[in-house]
């Protein structure tokens, strides 16, 4: 494979066809990954616009910027779009789709056509939900709490619910595809404990997707049925139980947080070892902690219900389990940090996103302990403290990991390199903007400002203005990567096959890879992250 580093390979998956049909009917996991990338980027833009509306309204305490109805629809739109149509598919459907076969030395996923089907299902779900949001809107909050959503809400609840129901199948199919692929299609020599941690993380994520998603699908369908046919599942006036909904909803939606964060943790594990040029510290502990998070994550859901009137001893059990789920996350964080010790640390954009991730995920995770602690949760739950906490996890954690991963594998995906200086500037902007947006919200929550308030007492204004200023910076921070990454697709320097000198099978093939990934089936003979020896393909200097 000797070729001029200043040009892309003669043949690769992007050249397999330029017409629309070659994209819309493709079964190539790499192309489907890109289809997802475009779709979720669009959804991210829509979700961000909603966030902008929310932050604009909160500049003033009296809610005079817009009507309460408009505000309620904006925060609901933000939550629904970001959770169900951006965060949940984000890393698995794009990077996971693109990389898992490459990382395990396979030609494609186990079920290429089901992979394409899952993208179409996602599109249908997204279209139905967007239709609901744009024609009349939705004002239930993304949590759809009953009996508000089933009896009192006067918006497009049924349509949105059906959209989310449909999108759930996309998630289930992707998870199923990954599980079978990881079990059955690993290259010779690639035993379980030689798998990249990115693959382990996706394996754990897929288990949650397959086991958890059916529960939210059924629950959200029950909401639609109660609205349409007036069944009494959740409405107490028809013999239903509104709290039952919360149990069912969080049985999925809490593990769903791990669907968002586990893949991001996988990305961090790959980058931190590459840019420290050192084997990852405690490989098996990181791998097993992913599985532990997936397992314990299913047993903590009722910590969302501590003030709902649940039995006091049940609350104690869920509190204890919620503390327990923090342990594996702590193990990962310690191991990533220890990986840097006596390493050779390079401060490139992907690594800067790792620093952002560790710093912010740490705050997100540790503030979770305040909420797991029963006596403190009573005061903090349903306030901005919770809003700040989960944004540190989902934005500070999941999105930082996503951006880091996108920059890390961008040369592999496109064959071209972005301008490093732009990457550094924008990561700094994202970091500053993020903290300015969400740190004040911890204080707001502790002071007692409830969530989902269209208007608020005047003493909360200063902190809200700070938060909106931060959101503005954050918005610009996101526009940068969008622009320079897009630019690099057309004008970027050819990157070479392995610009970072990284280990892992995906770096042993050309960039961009051919449609069938590898010219011959790779045979794995070394341990993962064997950075003590130079990579087989010399990096382009």
């Amino acid at each position: 494979m000797s070729r001029e580093p200043r040009s892309l390979p003669a043949e690769h998956y992007l050249k397999a066809g330029w017409d629309l049909k070659s994209w819309l009917l493709t079964t190539d996991h790499k192309r489907i990954g890109l289809l997802y990338l475009v779709s979720i980027t669009l959804m991210f833009a829509i979700g961000s616009l909603y966030a902008g509306i929310v932050r604009f309204n909160l500049l003033v305490p009296d809610g005079s910027q817009m009507s309460a109805e408009a505000y309620n629809k904006a925060f609901t739109g933000h939550g629904v779009v970001m959770v169900f149509f951006f965060l949940i598919p984000s890393i698995p459907a794009t990077l996971g789709n693109f990389l898992i076969p490459l990382m395990i030395g396979a030609k494609d996923l186990a079920f290429p056509r089901i992979n394409l089907l899952s993208w179409y299902i996602y599109l249908v779900g997204a279209a139905l939900t967007m239709w609901a949001l744009l024609t009349g809107g939705l004002e239930t909050g993304w949590t759809f709490y009953t009996p508000y959503s089933t009896v009192f809400a006067e918006s497009n609840v049924e349509l949105a619910a059906i959209g989310i129901f449909v999108a759930g199948f996309s998630s289930i199919l992707t998870g199923l595809n990954f599980i079978v692929t990881i079990h059955k299609m690993r290259a010779p020599g690639l035993s379980w404990f030689r798998l990249p941690l990115f693959v382990w993380a996706h394996y754990a994520t897929s288990i949650i997707q397959v086991l958890g998603t059916p529960v939210i699908a059924i629950t959200i369908l029950l909401v639609a049925l109660e609205r349409i046919f007036h069944f009494g599942f959740f409405d107490p006036n028809r013999g239903g139980d509104p709290i039952l909904f919360q149990h069912l909803f969080w049985f999925y939606s809490h593990p769903a947080v791990y669907i968002m964060i586990l893949p991001s943790m996988g990305v961090i594990s790959e980058i931190v070892t590459c840019f420290s040029r050192k084997r990852i510290f405690g490989y098996s502990f990181i791998a097993m902690s992913s599985l532990a998070i997936a397992a314990i994550g299913f047993l903590v859901w009722a910590h969302h219900l501590f003030v709902s009137g649940m039995a006091v001893y049940a609350a104690m059990v869920f509190s204890a389990l919620s503390f327990l789920v923090a342990v594996p996350s702590a193990i990962k964080t310690f191991n990533w940090t220890a990986t840097l010790y006596r390493g050779s640390v390079k401060w490139d954009t992907p690594m800067i996103y790792v620093f952002c991730f560790i710093g912010l995920f740490l705050i997100g995770g540790l503030t979770g302990l305040f909420l797991a602690s029963l006596g403190v949760d009573v005061h903090l739950t349903d306030t901005y403290f919770v809003v700040a906490h989960f944004h540190y996890i989902m934005v500070g954690g999941a999105i930082m990991g996503y951006l880091g991963g996108l920059h890390f594998w961008w040369p592999k995906i496109t064959g071209r390199q972005y301008v490093e200086a732009w990457g550094k500037v924008s990561s700094l902007l994202v970091f500053v903007g993020f903290n300015l947006t969400f740190f004040p919200q911890f204080v707001l929550g502790y002071l007692g400002m409830p969530r989902r308030y269209h208007a608020y007492p005047e003493e909360f204004q200063i902190l809200n203005v700070l938060s909106t200023a931060g959101a503005t910076i954050l918005g610009f921070g996101y526009l940068f990567p969008f622009s320079y990454l897009t630019h690099s697709v057309f004008r970027g320097e050819p990157a070479g096959d392995n610009p970072w000198g990284a280990k892992g099978l995906e770096w042993t093939t050309q960039s961009p890879p051919t449609t069938h990934n590898f010219d011959e089936v790779p045979v794995v003979t070394e341990e993962p992250y064997d950075y003590a020896s130079p990579p087989k393909e010399a990096a382009r200097v």
Partner: protein
Amino acid sequence: MSPAFPLAPERASSVAGEVDALFLFILGVTGLVALGIWIALFYFAIRYRRRSDDERPAEIHGSLALELAWTVIPFLLMIAMFAWGAKLFFHLHRPPDDAMSVSVVGKRWMWKLQHPTGQREINELHVPVGRAVKLVLTSEDAIHSFFVPAFRIKKDAVPGRYNIAWFRATKTGSFHLFCAEYCGTQHSRMIGRVVVMEPEEYQVWLAGGRAPESPVLAGEKLFSELNCITCHRPDDAGRGPVLDGIFGRPVRLAGGERVLADAAYVRESILSPAARVTAGYQPVMPTYQGQVNEEQLIALIAYIESLQVQSAGAPAGRASPSPAKGARSR
């Protein structure tokens, strides 16, 4: 009054200081952990930065001792946070026996409150300082949540259920009351205040306005107006069970199982009488769904609870939510 840029909410209840102490404990521990990791991260990242492109650092696979240390130490710290938090929660869960009971009904978008003496208020709650106040919460429509940041208490008002919360105000003044569970358009206007007064002022406040009717009296009136009295008679000649003394005691059902006759059960028996019928009786009672509102239900429950004072039985079980406990002693 309060500084322009406060970092902690006012402390105005007996538990506020305890909640803040635990908050600061967790803040201290997690702050130290976070600081330690940030310092290590940046120290390593700078100290071991790549100086030449040929660097190949020596391998380190891991360390079992370190793994155990950073698994066990956080775990022990978390046990402390858990135990302290659970103890506090348990304390918040059990109102003192002498608490004065206020019924709270959430309705989109207002709080309707009633004192044991019958005074009604909307979006305002006047209470005496130093006295334990028990809140019995329910809702007429969606789920709401009664949140007073200065007291560090919050409890959902759930339709069809009676939830209990309590506080003992330690400071006179006016404090925010928020609805903390999203309930629709005017959710952020479902706010009010808790006014904490000196006990004498509170008595003056209570005496103001027209003479109110206590929930027990109102319930007694309803009991005859709705003709409950024709079947539920004090002797056992009626078509329905005798209600004297049943409140807070187990009742045997037609199916053989037992159920505690608490507020929730009485409520269910009024709204869906056929759901759980007492053993030995026919399911002949009509539903009163739609004929009584939440406040009338609370009055009826208060009246039925008061009936047991006349019987020589033991006092009601403490676990039973009673909308009008304070009224019983009158």
